[in-house]
């Protein structure tokens, strides 16, 4: 077990070990714990009073905008990593640096736009 497939084999094995750990722990829990459900116990917790309405809560679209901002920047950050491994190698250097800065520049304009439109601050 070595090399590329060995490495990912080990990771897969570790995942299996982790899953086994969780399963064993939960099985031990199942054997040791009491189980006496009562209707009161199974009620949704709402600070000690009876729950009002369903489980759905009104939430901000704003959260969605933040998440989308992240997605746009994350797909850009993805390219930073392969770039990081090559940009200082012979044959790349300054030109590659500038190319990346152009790329980042466009995204910086994006964040500036978001900032100016007040998306980033919680009015």
């Amino acid at each position: 077990m070595h090399g590329y497939f060995g490495a990912y084999g080990l990771i897969a094995l570790l995942l299996v070990v982790g899953a086994v750990f969780v399963t064993v722990a939960l099985t031990a829990n199942r054997l040791l714990r009491p189980a006496r459900p009562t209707p009161q116990k199974l009620l949704t917790y709402e600070c000690g009073v009876d729950p009002v309405g369903g489980g759905w809560a009104q939430s901000y679209v704003r959260y969605y905008v933040f998440t989308f901002l992240y997605v746009v920047f994350a797909v850009d950050a993805v390219f930073l990593f392969p770039w990081a491994t090559v940009f200082a190698a012979p044959g790349f250097g300054a030109a590659t640096l500038i190319e990346m800065f152009v790329f980042l520049g466009f995204l910086a304009v994006g964040i500036l736009y978001a900032w100016r439109k007040g998306v980033l601050s919680w009015a």
Binding site: Y8, W56, V61, F68, V71, A74, D76, F81, F92
Partner: protein, 174 residues
């Protein structure tokens, strides 16, 4: 069958099964979670094909971001716990026909076209970060820069869509 092929087929079965669940389940949040399983299995398929970087990008972007975005969308449009009856439209039989036909044609074409094509998946580093990096910055610079413009446009679009107070100026508030 080689070991890599066996692993690949098993992962493929997982990807397909969870894919089928995505398009048939009647619980919308479950659909997003099955999508995670499907994406994860496809990422593992990439790993088997030695496309290391693409595999982890798949995990970071799809599992870590796109699915969360989808879950946000689902929760902001009220996701009930338990099955809902209005997720499928009336043209289900037509959809089945089209999908089966598409699958039949594609599989036939692919099998007859590439039936005997074979390659070794081995220790070649064709998918490592540095190989992809030099590929992008040697041969794919222009598409890469165009991509940044596209992302900028998407960002502006999403902001404009999500904020009702941006738009034609109302009573002098700009």
């Amino acid at each position: 069958m080689t070991a890599a092929e066996i692993v690949f087929v098993l992962l493929g079965v997982v990807a397909l099964a969870s894919g089928v669940l995505v398009v048939t389940t009647r619980q919308i949040v479950r659909a997003a979670l099955y999508l995670v399983v499907s994406f994860g299995a496809i990422a593992a398929c990439f790993l088997v094909l030695t496309a290391e970087l693409v595999a982890w990008v798949q995990v970071l972007i799809y599992v870590g971001a796109v699915v969360v975005l989808l879950l946000f969308g689902i929760m902001l449009t009220r996701a009930p716990i338990g099955p809902s009856s209005d997720l499928d439209s009336r043209n289900k039989p037509a959809a089945v026909t089209v999908a089966v036909a598409a699958a039949g044609v594609l599989v036939t074409v692919v099998v007859s076209g590439f039936g005997d094509a074979y390659f070794e998946v081995g220790e070649s580093r064709a998918g490592s970060a540095s190989v992809i990096g030099s590929g992008i910055f040697r041969y794919w610079v222009l598409p890469f820069e165009v991509l940044s413009v596209l992302l900028l446009a998407a960002l502006v679009g999403a902001i404009v869509l999500s904020r009702t107070d941006i738009g034609p100026p109302k009573d002098g508030d700009g």
